[in-house]
Symmetry: C2
Subunit: 393 residues, 2 copies
Amino acid sequence: MTMGFDIREQDAQTAARTGRLHTPHGMVETPAFMPVGTRGAVKGLTPEQVRATGAQIVLANTYHLLLRPGIDAVEQLGGLHRLMAWDGPILTDSGGFQVFSLQSLRRVGEDGVWFASHIDGAPLELNAAAAIEAQNRLGADIIMCFDECPALPCSTEALTAAVDRTIRWAEACKQAHRRDDQMLFGIVQGGTDAEQRARCARALVAMAFDGYAIGGLSVGEDPAERNATVGVTAPLLPVDKPRYLMGVGTPMDILAAVEAGVDMFDCVLPTRNGRNAYAFTRQGPVRLRNTAHSQDDGPIEPGCDCYACRRFTRAALRHFFNVGEMIGPILVSWHNLRFYQRWMAEIREHIDRGDFAAWAARQRELNEDMTQAGFDDTSDAAPRLSERKETQT
Amino acid sequence: MTMGFDIREQDAQTAARTGRLHTPHGMVETPAFMPVGTRGAVKGLTPEQVRATGAQIVLANTYHLLLRPGIDAVEQLGGLHRLMAWDGPILTDSGGFQVFSLQSLRRVGEDGVWFASHIDGAPLELNAAAAIEAQNRLGADIIMCFDECPALPCSTEALTAAVDRTIRWAEACKQAHRRDDQMLFGIVQGGTDAEQRARCARALVAMAFDGYAIGGLSVGEDPAERNATVGVTAPLLPVDKPRYLMGVGTPMDILAAVEAGVDMFDCVLPTRNGRNAYAFTRQGPVRLRNTAHSQDDGPIEPGCDCYACRRFTRAALRHFFNVGEMIGPILVSWHNLRFYQRWMAEIREHIDRGDFAAWAARQRELNEDMTQAGFDDTSDAAPRLSERKETQT
């Protein structure tokens, strides 16, 4: 199969499944986590290192690439794979999320969005046709529809209008799409409103996309609402197509979504937290700037097979953060990405083995048992505003 | 041989020679270039990547490690090799250079130097015994005597006093040295004054060190003076011991010093310039922020076998610098370190082959022929002050 999706194992007790996503640049085992390469690079790591974490697909942001270096520049260079020096599968988002989250918006119209560049304030327009044309020219393996992603909480009127536009724009994206070597995914919006989600999902499914994303989450709602929304939305999507939960999330968020039948994920947490000296481990978060690590000759996470854990002590990593050596952020980003890939591999293993539901329940218990903080507690790793803007996806 | 130096080939027309430096952590082919890992890390690169450039030995700075994380911390961790996760040979300097170049000095006395920490202003003292004790405890394969390195130009009186102290402190260092698994090198001072250099060299040679460094250069003198000083100093040092020119320099400086019989070099230029988007190539410097590269799908340097050149276009690297992605500085530092290692390998090859003098002359011609700038022109790559202080060796 050159392009498409096949399911390997369907869990008996949950909606979880393992599968294979086939793209022109290779196969991706699902459930899959995609490291975020916002502006054509996963922050701090070479593509070789990203590959070494176990990543089989990466994400890049059309919005950021549109501004710099520009679509023309990427195209003239031979496309996004060449720019990134990544020869595996790539997914690009449509730019919709950034336009709605990052910008001082000028105006949302029925046909698109007018906004000011966050770099120099230049007036720009993005709409369905332009977002698809840009993605056709960037040349990722999987591209996304242009959608409206409202911040939550959001009034019923605004939510309804956003879903209306998202549906209309999805139709326009489908018609604008010109390349048969790129899969086009629709994006379900609807906030935390189950009826709006259902309405959006039905409309998109009728258009027969190559895959479906659940968008509009991780934008202000609490985790319980998020999980509930994923739980009601995923079953509305065709069982034989890949499902992608955009911008989510913590390891436990991912686990819940896999149980609901989601196949693909992306999130900046592993790299963003890594740059802030926050390491994910199965024993809970490790904050490497902490004085407690100053004489610790153990690895970030015992048993982890990543380069940082195999070669460096916590004391050394603390020192590198303390003196501002780049290798600190590099190594902890590496570890965190490997942590996420190990997590996904373990999820896939238990689905294939048939004991996923019990294993997932046990993970939830373990997470709740962690005394100080679950391994989802990222409260101390909040980035400075400048970083947050820079790394938003 | 566990520890020591043997000469492989002696050039017939110049003082150049190839050799092997044997250390407890492995062998180093000379003439050798040592990447600088000031605070326990070569900036931006993992030890694995440093190794991939061809480096066989790295340098770290006692002064910086003394302040953070502190000698106790490194020792408790199991030593500098463990901190750095570098299992090859390491050379540490004594801290003398930083004390004299980086600090608001408090007082130079006959027995040592009192100064304020550049981190928090804390009063500190460094002297021969303390510098050797620190280096014994850090555990590098090669350690350096504590010397006085005056800025140039410098009065005859000050220079004489500095050489006097350097000689007296060298004797004290030799007596303080406690480990027989570390080679101790003496450092010849004397500015650009041939008589002072000769006086210092004679005194140190009489003390029978494991190797000899030429210090006190790259501190304000012009390149012709520098080369002349190396030319008169190197022949005064024992032919059967390794000779190390500290903190020098450009590829052409290194070539001149090799002709004078120098075996070892260190310099921050490849990494510092790399972080500033300045790439060394045999065709002259490439400034990767330049608009000229925005559509250039060629590598930094045609024919270079480094990871950056094998995988990335100049256009992509320009983009990464333009948007501030860490991977820009990482990749150009990598290329520059590989450039230096290729340069050293080529030097060794021509010495071994017996055509070194002719090849070196040709390199000098080529360098002078380069129209815009020789590959030693680093004028555009001047770092900001904060970076200069941070990276000073």
